[in-house]
Amino acid sequence: MGAIRLEKVKKTFGTLDVIPGVDLEINDGEFVVFVGPSGCGKSTLLRLIAGLEDVTDGKILIDGTDVANEAPAKRGLSMVFQSYALYPHMTVYNNIAFGLKMAGESKEVINEKVQSAAKILNLTDYLERRPGALSGGQRQRVAIGRAIVRNPAAFLFDEPLSNLDAALRVNMRLEITGLHQELKTTMIYVTHDQVEAMTMADKIVVLQAGRVEQVGKPMDLYSKPANKFVAGFIGSPKMNFLGGELAAKHTCHEIGVRPEHLAVSTESGEIAATVKIAEHLGAETYLHVVADEYGPMTVRATGEVPLGEHDKIFLTPEPDRIHRFDAQGLAVAAS
């Protein structure tokens, strides 16, 4: 079991409110991603759950028990660190076995668990090596191995892929998702990469300045962002925000249109613009344009588009894909 509930969890460093008070419900077996720009408090929130930081106020309930004042080891959670945090003086075997040794397990049990974790993670051939003799991806797998042998109530991942190169990152992303499907254990995953968040999560928690901006399924955040911040943070390239005449026409302060929801035409449309840069990726083309009335915008067109610098184009937002925001930046429900 691994249902985690945060009730008014608060963290202050001196006079600085890092987490002003967070309420959050994480169901057993769920893959939850905390996402937000750097410094938004997502790592601090994870460390509060782990017990590596003390809460200033509030409750952390794991399967109904308040663990806010328990030592990290007593919470039954495992953590994978951004830096892997392997013990450099121990072999891979001993790295994975360390937690079990601390728990006083017998040698046979330790051996059995380490071997089976090594098998799942393809580490069997490396058990006698030291972390220094492993590649980044292998080290990350050892860190995961160390986490899974303890059979925790939940896994905590603190930006585990940010030290890996792009190709490896995609692989490990799939491996972690596969692991979650296999183990069905609660996972909390911190990242600043919204692609990781969208692809891996059952539920995304978007944080800004220690506040939860929105909680929901990836596609819900994409199609129904609660405010301008979430709308701008989720989705790549970023959503375009337009005020003026167009917003007035939709009876709101500002409208948001994703780059992929703009139709491009060379003859007519609602927004006249000039192409500044065209990025040709093959499957799609990113057009960075300057609209006559609205300033810089980004357009994502499918396939190869024969446009280049100084070309005049017209853009038309898809009517049912327009997000409307009020003066406070909150989403306005469709009328």
Partner: protein, 276 residues
């Protein structure tokens, strides 16, 4: 790599370094040489360099007149004992300062170091009186305490700079893995800091071995280490240079040998953190 030094600069620098090295080494060389001379030759002017009658009689007499091994054993016990006791305190102290620093950690460290700037003679009387009243005069226990406290600031500083280099993540990982604080320190922190701990211990052994002020003032015979052994040869009935040299050679020999074999470790320890 491009070497910007001119050959002339290189040569003059080397010559200078050799001169300084020889100047530092000369007294030790002269002491060893004198220890093989007769008392008469030891004070003869002009002094003879190699062409004298080499003799071992000073060593024989020194051994006859006083028990070298008793003093040597005391030196070993004091140096090793104060180092081990110091290590227990210094490791815990450096752990707290390196991994749980507060606003005042830097000040506390500087304050600790500042105690080393006070001349020891300034506290001789109070410490002597405490030793007398507590019956610690001429005891190994009492001296171990004084030597350990004297070198504690340096041990804390050295370990602190080493511990600072160890990522906190790894200790947190151990905490998540269920290690209690003592286990976290013993199984994770200490093995990672072995080079630092080794050079700290080494330096402390050398400092304690060579310490002469407190060992001379607080001991008479039972706990007297090699420093007292040497001092006993500069006696009121006249200076016996050759025997004094033989006694000194015997006293510094063990630590010279240790120092020679561990100089790499030692230099690394002393300059650690200075260059990044």
């Amino acid at each position: 790599m491009e070497n910007k030094q001119t050959p002339l600069g290189y040569i003059s620098f080397s010559v200078f370094a050799w001169i300084v090295g020889l100047l530092i080494f000369f007294p030790i060389f002269w002491m060893v040489l004198t220890s093989f001379k007769s008392e008469l030759e030891a004070v003869s002017i002009p002094p003879s360099f190699i062409s004298f009658d080499w003799t071992l009689e000073n060593y024989a007499e020194v051994q006859e007149r006083s028990n070298y091994f008793k003093f040597a054993m005391n030196s070993v016990i004091l140096a090793v004992g104060s180092t081990l006791v110091g290590l227990v305190f210094a490791v815990t102290c450096a752990w707290a300062m390196a991994f749980n620093p507060t606003k005042r950690t830097k000040n506390a460290l500087l304050w600790m170091l500042s105690t080393k700037m006070m001349p020891p003679v300034g506290v001789l009387v109070p410490i002597y009186l405490l030793f007398r009243d507590w019956g610690l005069l001429d005891t190994r226990f009492g001296l171990i305490m004084v030597l350990f406290l004297m070198n504690l600031p340096i041990m804390v500083w050295m370990l602190y700079t080493y511990f600072k280099e160890i990522p906190t993540d790894i200790l947190e990982a151990a905490r998540m893995d269920g290690a209690t604080l003592p286990k976290e320190i013993i199984f994770v922190l200490l093995p990672m800091a072995v080079p630092g701990i080794a050079s700290t211990m080494l330096l402390n052994v050398i400092l304690a071995w060579n310490e002469a002020f407190w060992t001379l003032n607080l001991t008479t015979s039972d706990a007297a280490p090699l420093t007292a052994f040497i001092a006993s040869y500069s006696s009121p009935e006249g200076l016996f240079w050759a025997k004094l040299s033989a006694a000194s050679t015997l006293a510094v020999a063990p630590i010279l040998v240790i120092g020679w074999f561990s100089q790499k470790q030692l230099v690394r320890g002393l300059t650690f953190g200075a260059v990044k």
